[in-house]
């Protein structure tokens, strides 16, 4: 394949993304995740039946980026809003897009109970181990020892707890149909991430139940690293604590 053709393929914008330029910092994974979500919507040809919910966080502008009906949630409440939408419009595809402050801190109750009710929704959970939008405070997913604005001497597990592993936590519930953790720091990871995200939508289409994909993500700006260093930090520090893989898959449960 010629380079030109490859370039063309790589840079074709999915139909499910608008022309609005991303507002994310250089090296931030939010943009790649948007792209993978849009590709899944394209592949399944569901954009015109999809309703997306943008969080409060850097991805609040996701409402501008997806070419489908969108609504902006209060901080952390997207799973409850998704529940309300899905119950009124059961034939539509409903997804939430949430950061780790949004989903794993202020919105913990909403995500646990939406998962436990087995709401037929798809959740894209972006774990960047920090609060990006508000300038880099500690998230529930911040690693032990990690320095942030509000853990200036490093996260001390004795007083601040250990980072929360959402996939493992939600996998203890009976109801969820699909729970997986993926990363984007290597081409092979991206392929797996794309598959997982597509599956999380496919399961909703098939009426199988609640599906969540956690994407380990970079925040070079708040981590104070270059995009390249951020990728390395994610590989070296985050993946060992947050193992990749499928934690729950109704298809494979006997």
């Amino acid at each position: 394949m010629g380079v030109k053709k490859l370039m063309k393929q790589v840079f074709t914008k999915p139909k499910s993304l608008t022309d609005v330029p991303f507002t994310y910092c250089p090296g931030c994974h939010h943009g790649i995740i948007h792209r993978l979500v849009a590709e899944a919507m394209d592949d399944l040809n569901i954009a015109e039946d999809t309703i997306g919910i943008a969080p409060v966080g850097c991805a609040v502008f996701a409402y501008l980026f997806f070419e489908c009906d969108m609504i902006v949630a209060a901080h952390g409440r997207a799973p409850a809003i998704a529940t309300g939408i899905k119950r009124v419009k059961p034939d539509n595809i409903v997804f939430t897009y949430q950061g780790d402050g949004d989903l794993a801190s202020i919105g913990t109750a909403e995500i646990v109970h939406a998962a436990n009710r087995g709401e037929k929704i798809t959740v894209i959970f972006v774990n960047n181990a920090i609060y990006g939008m508000t300038g880099g405070q500690m998230a529930p997913t911040t690693l032990e020892g990690q320095i942030t604005q509000t853990s200036p001497y490093g996260r001390d597990s004795k007083t601040m707890g250990m980072p929360i592993r959402i996939c493992e936590l939600l996998s203890t519930l009976n109801s969820p149909a699909y729970i997986a953790r993926v990363a984007l720091t290597k081409p092979a990871y991206i392929v797996k991430a794309k598959k997982a995200i597509k599956k999380a939508f496919q399961y909703q289409l098939d009426g199988k139940g609640f599906a969540l994909v956690e994407v380990l993500s970079t925040c070079p700006t708040s981590w104070g690293l270059s995009p390249k260093e951020a990728n390395e930090w994610l590989n070296e520090k985050m993946i060992p604590y947050y193992p990749l893989g499928e934690f729950k898959n109704v298809e494979e449960v006997s």
Binding site: A47, E48, D49, I51, I53, V60, Y63, L64, F66, E67, C68, D69, M70, I71, V72, A73, A74, R77, A80, I81, A82, T83, G84, I85, K86, R87, V88, K89, N92, A109, E110, V112, H113, R117
Partner: protein
Amino acid sequence: MEERLLMKGNEAIGEAAIHAGCRYYFGYPITPQSELIAYMAKRLLKIKGATFIQAESEIAAINMVYGASAAGGRVMTSSSSPGISLKQEGISYLACAELPCVIVNIMRGGPGLGSIQPAQGDYFQATKGGGHGDYHLIVFAPSSVQELVDLTIRAFSLADKYRNPAMILGDGLLGQMMEPVQFKEFDEKNIPSKEDWALGSSHGRKPRRIVPFDLDPNELEKIVNKLGQKYQDMQKEVEYEVVNIDNPDIVIVAYGSIARIVKTTIQKAKQEGINIGLVRPITLYPFPYAAIEEVANKVDKFLVTEMSLGQMVEDVKLAVKGKSQVSFYGRTGGVVISPIEILQEVKKLLD
């Protein structure tokens, strides 16, 4: 459906909502409105396509309302004072996003965990916004079980008309009261279509976006000014009742269950040759300022009675514009004011 049924206030609200086409309810249990959530469970879980969810919290419930309303559903939630406080962020979002819904507050004693007895301490919260930012709810203050029915139905209709949340502000006394009620014929065809703004499938149209924010101050100001214009337009929906207003010695202003108690006071006073008038706001927002001012032109003594330290009295004073003397009598903590207490207060003022 025109026969008379004996119903408890809380259940009557639920039946009225379903009668008005409400098919989505999200709530969390709290006394003294628990009969309402139970009634919605009993009825909605048997209606095909309807949804009842006992949410994990009032915060989740109001956000489920936000989603259901955005998707075009006729939707209600209910709670009592502490639960309504938890919902405030969501209510502010609903107002900003111009999403219609009905919120029922069966008030109890506060602040804090307070008591589970009737109170009216949430007047400020209900009528002045309650959550953050510039917004208002349409607020109804029913005074009988029949009014709980009629005003619940009206609340859905005005919520849709203005695309704004509407509130039924009752109290534990009304919620627990049993009275005969009638349900007037309701044609679901009267529910306005939401096809032109609700979220759903976007085949053949541009995607829609419901966005309760704008980081550009000039743009957000436009949104807020639009809301402001809506609140101006809403003023024409004001409703109130006047009793014995021709030539009274004193006029009492009261709403909800206290207004009923005042009616008993009026009868007792008559036997003693004292002539008491009553102005009863039926909508608390919009508030009947003009109607009260008109009375103030003729009567020089007003008494406001509330189950609070004095909240609505501030609006009455604004309405009266200093033309008459406005006094206040209130009880708090869940103590219900008796007709005799009010009469004693009247006598003191007339002395």
